[in-house]
């Protein structure tokens, strides 16, 4: 089989149906309603449905959500659905509760019915939240400063972090691409000095650099997911690093391309740029990239790993 970056048909179908659902969500639809809809669509059953191919499917779904500006704790909830023991899954997969990863004292989604997971001594563990005080955060999502302790252990944390990193990478790539494409559309319409501003190299070049980084980040995220599905997680941290930097650069470039309109509170960029920024610091944070493991020692990195796996 020759090299191809096309998604498998079933994975492409996931992206398409998530996209269709996002498009059908009425303007101002409430979070709870949207969340239930995603559950009905089968979003939180992806790990179960896709089994060996589930990271690729999750990345595709997350990228579509990023493109459509929907966040909520989907990355966390998908990670939970992929990694938590079977007896905890039902309400999460049904969309009745959200699952969140967090490290006290600051944790997201302080809803009493949310399931919180943390990391303790290298293991994932349920978090028993005793008291919570709401905190306004940059991302705009509900957060709280909590008193909490680790409860039931849920196995090694590495698979959780891997899955979360890939989901977040997908979202960041989608959000970044959407911002850059929207900013480029603005640049091809907005006229100053008798020209569309996209004709000025000072506007065009940063957009080009942003999309260059995002296009690479997309391939890395999808490749890292494919490798992880095949049991090799060595590209995961590089994928997240690449997606985070690319999305951040895209956000800054979009702010700048839109001029004053781009820095309005309700403007076309801030809702996404604030999340992109916070995701870099949110638990589970980016892990250091192990350069040698990610690069390998042969003449290729991404492709090499595939060849190795085929063996």
């Amino acid at each position: 089989m020759s090299l191809s970056l096309d998604r498998d048909e079933s994975v492409a179908a996931v992206a398409e149906s998530v996209g269709r659902y996002c498009g059908s969500l009425a303007e101002g639809a409430g979070f709870a309603e949207a969340w239930r809809g995603f559950a009905e669509l089968g979003l939180f059953s992806l790990p179960e449905l896709f089994g060996d191919n589930s990271h690729a499917a999750m990345v595709a779904a997350m990228e579509t959500l990023g493109r459509n500006g929907f966040y909520g704790p989907v990355a966390d909830t998908l990670t939970f659905a992929a990694c938590a023991p079977a007896d905890l899954l039902e309400p999460v997969v049904a969309g009745e509760v959200v699952a969140c990863l967090g490290r006290p004292p600051l944790v997201p989604w302080p809803d009493a019915r949310a399931i919180h997971v943390t990391e303790a001594g290298g293991d994932a563990a349920l978090l028993e939240v005793e008291a919570a005080e709401p905190v306004a955060m940059l991302s705009g999502d509900p957060w709280a400063r909590v008193r909490a302790s680790a409860g039931r252990a849920l196995g090694p944390f590495v698979p959780w972090a891997d899955c979360y990193d890939l989901c977040v990478s997908g979202w960041l790539v989608g959000a970044g691409l959407d911002l850059v494409e929207a900013a480029s559309a603005h640049a091809s319409q907005r006229v100053q000095f008798g020209k569309t501003i996209g004709e000025f190299q000072a506007v065009a070049a940063p957009l080009a650099r942003a999309v260059l980084a995002l296009d690479a980040a997309k391939v890395l995220a999808e490749a890292a997911a494919a490798h992880l599905d095949a049991g090799d997680g060595r590209l995961v941290t590089a994928a997240r690093f690449s997606a985070a930097r690319a999305a951040e650069q895209a956000a800054i470039t979009a702010h700048q391309t839109y001029g004053a309109f781009g820095v309005l509170e309700g403007g076309p960029v801030y809702a996404r740029s604030r999340r992109i920024r916070q995701l870099a610091a949110q638990f589970p944070q980016e892990r250091p990239v192990d350069a040698l493991a990610a690069l390998g020692t042969g003449s290729l990195g991404i492709v090499r790993a595939q060849a190795e796996m085929a063996r």
């Binding site: 100053q192 000095f193 008798g194 000072a202 801030y270 920024r277």
Partner: protein, 369 residues
């Protein structure tokens, strides 16, 4: 090279430091627009006639040098107090240079006493970087102009008494040659001002004029001759608005924050802070170039703005990167600076426009237009 302050300047700086101490952390850059605290600060400066520090004595000012004016505002920024009000800079200095004797008598005293305030009404929905294409129109009828059109992004305009309006009196196609400056009563019939919130919580506005009446005596400078007046004033103002004191304040705020949160011990954080310190010094270097270069300095003014904005944005981005999740609290100084500094590469002329000015003036390139 002489890098020391003269004895008079050093004495003045000491006096400024003492006078400004009670107003530290008025937070004029972020969150607040025109708070009572900021007003009290301006009033305290007015009581010393420092709002008119560099105006000529004949105009009611103190005739001090740009260096002293810089020292005053640099100190105000370093103490997180706030920027100079628009009236005392762009507006008053233009009236001093180009106003009639009657206009000087009418406007300058209330401005330096901070009894009246101004907002700049230049930008329009379709004319931002390309200000010369603005379309808001003023038509002379008898002894008054009738103004019709829109403005936007005007800092604090919903809180001020007067608008410093740049409008078109020439043909629609007259470009920079058909523009005129008018002073418009912000509460006049036919003027509607609506606030818009920026991502940092600060307010700008959109303004709608519908045949608003402006007495012809409120025109500053010649009809169709405003372009030279405003470019001269904008460059003039950059050492007052974009000071290294602000950069230094942001730097030390981050340093303190990292220290308090036990993150400064991390060697990579320390290295990043050392690199950022160099940007603080670079911002200072550019303002020194500006102060040491009399005459047409729009190229250096652009360099100063660019170095300033680059430094505060890098500091804000490092804050978020080094600070972890605690740095993401919406109103933590770290996240506030990130949100606020994002607006600085747009307001007062965008980074791309500053770069093209430098390319043209410093390197002789025909950049961008």
């Amino acid at each position: 090279m002489n890098l020391s302050l003269s004895p008079e300047d050093a004495d003045f700086l000491a006096e400024v430091q003492q006078a400004l101490e009670p107003f530290a952390d008025t937070r004029g850059f972020v969150v607040s627009n025109s708070t009572p605290e900021l007003k009290a600060f301006y009033k305290a400066l007015a009581a010393r006639n420092w709002l008119a520090l560099s105006w000529p004595v004949s105009a009611g000012g103190m005739g001090r040098s740009p260096v002293q004016e810089f020292l005053l505002w640099n100190e105000a920024h370093f103490r997180n107090i706030g920027r100079a009000p628009q009236g005392v800079g762009v507006v008053a200095k233009t009236i001093i240079r180009h106003g009639t004797e009657e206009q000087k008598a009418a406007w300058l005293d209330p401005i330096r006493r901070h009894d009246i305030t101004f907002a700049l009404a230049y930008s329009e929905p379709n004319a931002g970087s390309d200000l010369g294409s603005l379309q808001c129109k003023a038509v002379l009828e008898g002894d008054r102009y009738l103004v019709t059109g829109n403005k936007c992004w005007n800092s604090k305009a919903h809180t001020v008494d007067y608008l410093w309006l740049l409008c078109r009196t020439g043909e629609a196609s007259s470009g920079k040659k058909g523009l005129t400056l008018l002073i418009v009563d912000a509460k006049a019939p036919g003027v509607v001002i609506r606030p818009l919130e920026l991502m940092c919580g600060n307010m700008v506005t959109e303004i709608f004029f519908d045949r608003a009446e402006v007495p012809v005596t409120h025109r500053i400078g010649p009809e169709n001759g405003a372009w030279r007046l405003i470019t001269e004033a904008l460059a003039d103002e950059r050492y007052v608005h974009f000071t290294p004191g602000r950069v230094r304040y942001d730097y030390f705020t981050l340093r303190r924050w990292l220290e308090e949160h036990g993150r400064l011990d991390d060697p990579s954080a320390r290295r990043r802070m050392d690199e950022l310190a160099v940007l603080v010094l670079q911002a200072e270097a550019h303002v020194l170039r500006l102060l040491a270069t009399p005459g047409d300095s729009s190229g250096i003014a652009a360099s100063n703005k660019l170095a300033h904005v680059n430094a505060i944005q890098q500091i804000a981005r490092a804050a978020i990167a080094l600070g972890g999740i605690e740095a993401m609290e919406l109103d933590a100084p770290t996240s506030l600076h990130w949100r606020q500094t994002m607006t600085e590469s747009i307001g007062g002329g965008t980074t791309e426009i500053m770069e093209s000015i430098i390319a043209r003036q410093r390197l002789g390139l025909a950049a961008n237009r």
